[in-house]
Symmetry: C3
Subunit: 274 residues, 3 copies
Amino acid sequence: MKTDRNSLAAMAGQTLAAIADRKPLVQSITNYVSMDIAANALLAIGASPIMVRAPEESAELAPALDALVINTGTLTSTAAQQMDAAATAAHAHGKPWLLDPVGAGGLTLRNQTIIRLLRHRPAIIRGNSSEIIAVARLQGLTTDTARPRGVDSTSSSLAAEASAVTLARHALCTVVATGEIDIVTDGQTTIKLANGAPVMTRVTALGCSLSAVMGACLATAAPLQAAVSAIAIYGVCGEIAATQSRGPASFRVAFLDMLYNLKPADLQERLKLA
Amino acid sequence: MKTDRNSLAAMAGQTLAAIADRKPLVQSITNYVSMDIAANALLAIGASPIMVRAPEESAELAPALDALVINTGTLTSTAAQQMDAAATAAHAHGKPWLLDPVGAGGLTLRNQTIIRLLRHRPAIIRGNSSEIIAVARLQGLTTDTARPRGVDSTSSSLAAEASAVTLARHALCTVVATGEIDIVTDGQTTIKLANGAPVMTRVTALGCSLSAVMGACLATAAPLQAAVSAIAIYGVCGEIAATQSRGPASFRVAFLDMLYNLKPADLQERLKLA
Amino acid sequence: MKTDRNSLAAMAGQTLAAIADRKPLVQSITNYVSMDIAANALLAIGASPIMVRAPEESAELAPALDALVINTGTLTSTAAQQMDAAATAAHAHGKPWLLDPVGAGGLTLRNQTIIRLLRHRPAIIRGNSSEIIAVARLQGLTTDTARPRGVDSTSSSLAAEASAVTLARHALCTVVATGEIDIVTDGQTTIKLANGAPVMTRVTALGCSLSAVMGACLATAAPLQAAVSAIAIYGVCGEIAATQSRGPASFRVAFLDMLYNLKPADLQERLKLA
């Protein structure tokens, strides 16, 4: 995989076109706050969202799925069982899935659930810096004790780089730590991207919806490519939408419209490596 | 009931005015993705939404209700029990109710829940084409094996016409199959409407919110009239909003604003029969 | 506390600045309809929302919290237990919390839950007029039998004034009854504010999101000050946003943007006492 700016922009453009073409069916078990924006982001980009949660339905749906996304926000013990059933079914049918470990590090139920889910071998783990450091700590890979404040990160994403690489090697997957700089690594190749806008931290569940869209990318590309593509798409759409809005709510509208209108040329023109 | 274009537009305008006048109390048990847009659509049109789910609350609320809407998205066995209790209570108190059989056909829990709910005699069944064909198949009325892809339809609505008519006769209710052409039938009279805009398929839960608004119409008009009115209102608002927006998110904003601002004259001017 | 217009506007501006400065961590256990707008309102104003619901997580989170908000919409018996656990934990750790008794008066499960939650000593009770009268009635403080229609108020907020004052004295807390005139009282001092716009009743869960923001204020100010500040912030933002929008959906966008952009000078210029 070529990792120069132009090659990465071209690759993200191809992923965008592949989603529009194949309309992948992406199951999301996500927190209640993010269900609306996650489904709308998937539809805007041309994927087909399905929010099935019941364990018996996840098992039945898995053969038809293209990818699964699990997000541990607003967790309950019932939801943890739903997540476990969905990850089990996806893994059994060879469907790629992504783990978004919301709130990792701070709370026991969440930590236990994340440890259990990791056994089902996600293709991608996507979190903010505090969450990625916490997941690495839960796996005994770091002694960094950075903790999130609520569900918001307290670390810069660069601080998570070592944890991300170690976690990727240990879990044999791609790891993404998002922040001002977004870090994507499969343990061998590490790519740092620098698009986005500050207002993005003021829109609830925007990271959750990024995970959903990364799931759509994962349905059409290998994990490292999928992760870079989704980060590129989100960062560039965010940058353009920020110029068209006056605050977080008009930003959200402009951002989802931009996901729908994004062209490969926009990626080519604006993608920034760190 | 006169079924020429002008009479239908006038009837939809009267339903719109009746909702604004009476502010019907509409209970929605709907999927988690659609709760925000369903409640906002009901408020925009002047109805009073209530999202009570607990079985004991549904039983207590039923005497005060004007209509009930049940939508089987994001189904769990707990939610299935909530739906059963609400439909039982509505039926016992003679309150009209609408079934939106999201995802019918593909999943066992959903099919079983839908079959059970049908025993409580909905006044309207509203789904996309694949869902209407699937409900007819579940009742042994067709051997058409069209299946949805996730929760999205794979059939044109015209393909669902025969199933819709047969289902309406069998279930003694009004059936609506929405799509590029929207089909409304009570088994005797079949009306086809042709408003709307392609971007409407890119907004999550817009169909669910249509069902909620159709529930408000059902509180003030007979089922066939209610169904046609809601389809007319949604199609005309969608057409106008599409001209005012740049993508699915600005469309959603313009659409809800249009529901709030819609005048009978807009219906008279724009309603299209197929 | 000075209660003239200019002093109150200055106080609200100081609360606004304190939230931006301290970014308080506010847990919301709120109904499913309001989770998106409540979290977005908290982020817009600079607070850090967390929507933890699981009883074991609430207990673990309480020491780190700055405030808790509990809203009884879309109640189930499971949710009632989650609320009880969170209020217990907050009270045990001396964290202030706010009760938004959605639908009080009409339904048994809701009334029982509200009576139980009151034992955990909320710092603020915030509801519409019918809800405040109903809570006073549940505590045996009034024989007024006004009931809500669904979750919407049927009483003017002035009709709730006596109930609000009596309830504040009895429960030793601040009580807020919102409506065309907003009433804030701690049983000794009663303040009436008159900002806002009619379209605000057409946006679902706007009152729930007000409670969330009042929780953020409660993290940085005493209850009476917090309540007045949040009412002032919401009323002034609503008035400005109404001039910038064409219906409830564009109003919601403009309103959240305004929460993000509000300056103390806007409060100083526009705050109105009744």
